[in-house]
């Protein structure tokens, strides 16, 4: 088992991937903030219990060389959702720049948290290895 397959790391990786995808959607919203008829989108929050189950579930072990590697660790696909608009302009655009800026700032903070936790966990492993 490599370091990156540890439940904690894979959970953090999923979190970072989620934040990355969300950043893309938010960038789309801001780029189209003036486009008539554009509806803003946001990413649905991941289902925590399901993510936890996926990360800590029992996996099949290949005991013979003839066994195929299982693919139980499915890639989490994130669902985009229409964000609840604050207002819809007469041109049919539902993007509010202030709200988007807030979401981007929040996304940035969350990402910072995830990366900080990741490096902390790496530090834990390093101290377990006995290296300074």
């Amino acid at each position: 088992m490599s370091v990156t397959e540890l439940p904690l790391f894979s959970m953090l990786k999923t979190r970072m991937r989620w934040l990355e995808t969300r950043q893309r959607l938010l960038a789309e919203n801001v780029a189209n903030a003036e486009t008539p008829g554009f509806r803003g989108r946001d990413l649905k929050a991941p289902d925590f219990t399901r993510q936890l189950q996926a990360a800590t579930s029992v996996q099949l072990v290949a005991t013979s060389p003839g066994h195929l590697a299982g693919t139980t660790q499915t890639d989490p696909n994130f669902a985009a959702d229409r964000s609840q608009p604050f207002e819809v302009t007469p041109r049919g655009n539902s993007v509010s720049l202030e709200e988007e800026m807030m979401r981007i700032a929040q996304n940035q903070t969350d990402h910072q948290t995830a990366t900080a936790l990741y490096s902390r966990s790496l530090g834990l492993i390093k101290s377990a290895l006995g290296k300074k």
Partner: protein, 136 residues
């Protein structure tokens, strides 16, 4: 990498807004451009438009400048008998540009441009944070 895509999407927003600024600058610069004689029309205000398209490469909806249309509203008419472009009654047709409207449009374009720049800055910071994991 999704972060690079975010930056590219924001860049399309920057491009669209700077194109809009160009049209606004054109309108303001020509706010007083009358015709050479009474037979021809003076400068007509131009209106930019935006179009959304799905970029297959980026897998995202990006924005681009659509067609630049002309404003069909009436010209402002002023009575200046001595003007070279004056007709028989001494009326001169001035462009249908309202500088106040252009200024408001310009502020809107500026705000949107700054918002897109903000996205790029935030995304860059997130990339830097990710790279910092290596240093831990």
């Amino acid at each position: 990498m999704d972060f690079m895509r975010s930056i590219f999407i924001a860049a399309t927003g920057l491009r669209a807004q700077s194109g809009r600024m160009r049209v606004i600058a054109e309108n303001i610069a020509n706010a007083n451009s009358t015709a050479a004689n009474s037979a021809t029309d003076p400068y007509r205000r131009r209106v930019p438009s935006f179009a959304t398209s799905f970029d297959r490469d980026l897998q995202a909806t990006v924005v681009s400048m659509g067609r630049i249309r002309t404003d069909g509203s009436d010209f402002t008419v002023r009575n200046e008998p001595g003007h070279p472009a004056a007709d028989g009654q001494g009326n001169v047709k001035y462009p249908n540009v309202n500088t106040l409207i252009e200024t408001v449009d310009m502020r809107e374009a500026q705000r949107s441009y700054e918002a897109n720049l903000n996205v790029i800055t935030a995304t860059r910071r997130m990339i830097a944070r990710t790279i910092e994991i290596l240093r831990a």
